[in-house]
Amino acid sequence: MLLFADDQEPPTSLHRKALSYLAELCEGESACNQVHELTALFQTGDYDKAHEMLMPEFDHCTGEKCFLLSVLKAKIFYEKSLIKQAINEYKVSLDLRDKLPPSFREDFAIEPVMASLLLEEEAFLTSIQYLRPWVERHLASENKDQFGGYYHNLGIAYLHLKKFDSSAFYFNRSIEIEMEMADTLGLAISYMDIANLYYEQYLDGQAIPYFQKGLEYALLAQEPEVLRNAYLNMAVVEENRGDLQRALSYRKDFEKVQNTLWNRDKVWEMAEKEKIYEIGLKEREITILEQKELVKNAELSRQRWQIKAYLIASVFLFILAGVVAVGYRIVSKSNKQITEQKRVLEQMDTAKNRLFSIVAHDLKAPVRSLQRSQQKMAAAASAQDKETLLALAAENGHLLNATQNLLNNLLQWSLDQTNQVHLMRESIEPGRLIEQVLYDYEPMFQEKGIDLETDFVSGPMVLVDIQSMKVVFRNLLDNALKFTPKGGRVHIATSTRGDVVRITIEDTGCGMEQGVVDRLFEISQAKIQTGTDGTTGTGLGMILCQAFVSRNGGTIEVESQVGKGTIITLNLPRIAET
């Protein structure tokens, strides 16, 4: 009885797929590296190590990952020829797969693999139970070569179970596909198997042509083992038929192929042995070389240490020198800074002292005037001189106004000097800002008989702190009011020049000498000016104006001619319109 069982290797794609799924699933570098390592182990065939790596992973896996690990574990069992364990593990895989989305059922065709393993274990009925439903569910149109194998396996299983009809059906389907694929080797095997099928049933007439066909295809396929079986089959068949001459000829052919197979195996063995011997030689050489290198390395590392030591020492010395140099520079620089700061502080101190004396003078004058006026008022009151009283009251009003302005400026100045002014910038049309300040001044200009003209452009905007700019305009309007005589004219205009908004305040006042203009923003006693009503100005207002305008990103310019008037120009950056 001859049966040629096909031990077909299960599709290897299962574990590859599992590994690529794991690679997609992994999170974090270490986990992903582990998957790469595992893939490498599977490629090199180091399944023991792969197994070692796989086992701890089962402790903390869920769903998809458990399934993938199980597929890999089964593959390892298979590769270690532990077929029964492999089958059991694939059963586990199948259970896990059923809990996953249906796409996994399509991607991981475990059933055919199971079936072929079961076939190896001669569990034919179980094999069929796995393979047949799967084959029926899937169409042979995809993966034709694989389906040829599946049909073949089914044929063999049925053949062993002596279900000849089913067996013949599947062998024929297998042949159909192999024909289509021009798979001569598969055809040789299939024809021989189907021949055996008939031969089993003693249908020799049907069997023999198949055996012959099997031999034809075996000759085409040139696979010695299959060819050997084909010859042997024919020899046995002819012998049984009584054609001894043919049987002998086939038997001779069989032995010829058998011999070449043996020779091939022997040549292989010899080559293996030679290889082992040569490897031994090479290994010995390598050990010798390694020892030599060890000695050399020891020498080298000693030298390297020497170099390193020199290097470290020199770097250390260099750094030390650098530190000393830098330290020296810092000390001398800070000394310089200290002297510079001292100079500036001294300057500021003298400026402040000067300011105090100016302010004291400025405060003393109105207070003295008020005192005098107070006495006059008392006298006028007792004389019931209402007119004089009213005139004195108006005069006192002016004095108090001037004094209040001075005090306001002092407060602003001290806030500015101690960095307590926090600017809140807002966009505003300059005309809109000036008009708010002007509202309070209009009656005063009117009272003094000064023409007030405004000419504001609408549109251009500036980004400024409104409160500090109001202080600036109050001071400038104060000055214009104070230094312009009755019947004079004050003209306020805004205009744009490029990305700058210009604000000009032009008066027909008494003007200043160039020397005064030049020192307008310095704190000094020398520039005290007398207003048209005899009140004096210290220039503190102008200093404040300059400080605040520059804090708002602008500049201030002064043009003046004695007897003609003064033009103050503010330049403020204009906001780009949106």
Binding site: Q420, V421, H422, M424, I428, R432, Q436, G459
Partner: protein
């Protein structure tokens, strides 16, 4: 035309009086005066003013700021706010860098400064910088259009607007209370009014759909409740019919 209703929170009676005089001269109406945080909050929720002017310090405590915080907790009922502050407190106030938008008024102030502070408070509240103080003169807030009109602000409820028409570069709002020129283009106006029942029917007109009395399809005309007949141009006819279907 409605006057804008202002709530004053100020503990010094003469200051409150002065503020009231300024506001009323400027065309605003003062709906209440509170002198404490508690009363201020009570009046605020009871009167639902359009604007609040609050002194930062009430009886020596920064209750004005507390008021702003309490009001800011509910954005649905919050209103534009102006802080009143003394010069002495101003630096501390500036340093506080309050998060919620507000404007401020430094005492003593004049009517122009008050008007500017009001405009700024409204703009900041509506997140429409420059909506009133620069170029444009209209602000949309809470179902109402605020229009700068003769140095003051007036409030026109959106539902009172019958239609808007092009007037040169800008547009004219025709409401029950009268017509107002707004320094906005019709396109901008359309954007603002889109969320309400307004629709463009002609390159020159946007109408309040609730004001339609009749549509004459053959004449391509819409008759408004106020008897006014407006042309419907071909471009906008289909959209109008669709909208009208939905409304019917």
């Amino acid at each position: 035309m409605e006057k804008i209703r202002v709530l004053i929170i100020e503990d010094e009676a003469d200051q409150a009086d002065e503020l009231q005089v300024f506001l009323e001269k400027g065309g605003y109406s003062v709906c209440g005066i509170a002198d404490s945080l508690t009363e201020g909050l009570g009046l605020f929720y009871a009167l639902k003013p359009d604007l609040v002017v609050a002194d930062i310090y009430l009886k020596g405590n920064p209750e004005g700021i507390s008021f702003a915080e309490r009001m800011g907790e509910n954005m649905n009922t919050a209103r534009p706010l102006i802080f009143l502050t003394q010069h002495a407190d101003f630096e501390t106030f500036r340093q506080a860098k309050l998060v919620s938008p507000y404007s401020y008024l430094l005492k003593p102030f004049n009517p122009l400064e008050l008007q500017y502070a009001i405009e700024l408070a409204m703009e900041k509240f509506a997140s429409q910088p420059g909506g009133l103080s620069i170029k444009e003169n209209a602000l949309l807030m809470e179902e109402s259009l605020f229009v700068k009109h003769k140095q003051s602000l007036i409030k026109i409820p959106i539902s009172n607007i019958e239609y808007v028409e092009v007037d040169g570069k800008y547009c004219k709002i025709n409401a029950r209370e009268g017509s107002f020129l707004v320094q906005l283009s019709l396109v901008k106006m359309e954007e603002k009014l889109q969320a309400y029942h307004f629709l463009r029917i002609h390159r020159n007109y946007i109408i309040n759909l609730n004001e339609i009395r009749q549509i004459h399809l053959t004449d391509n005309q819409v008759i408004l409740n106020g008897e006014r007949a407006l042309p419907v141009s071909h471009t906008y006819k289909d959209i109008l019919m669709k909208r009208f279907d939905v409304l019917r």
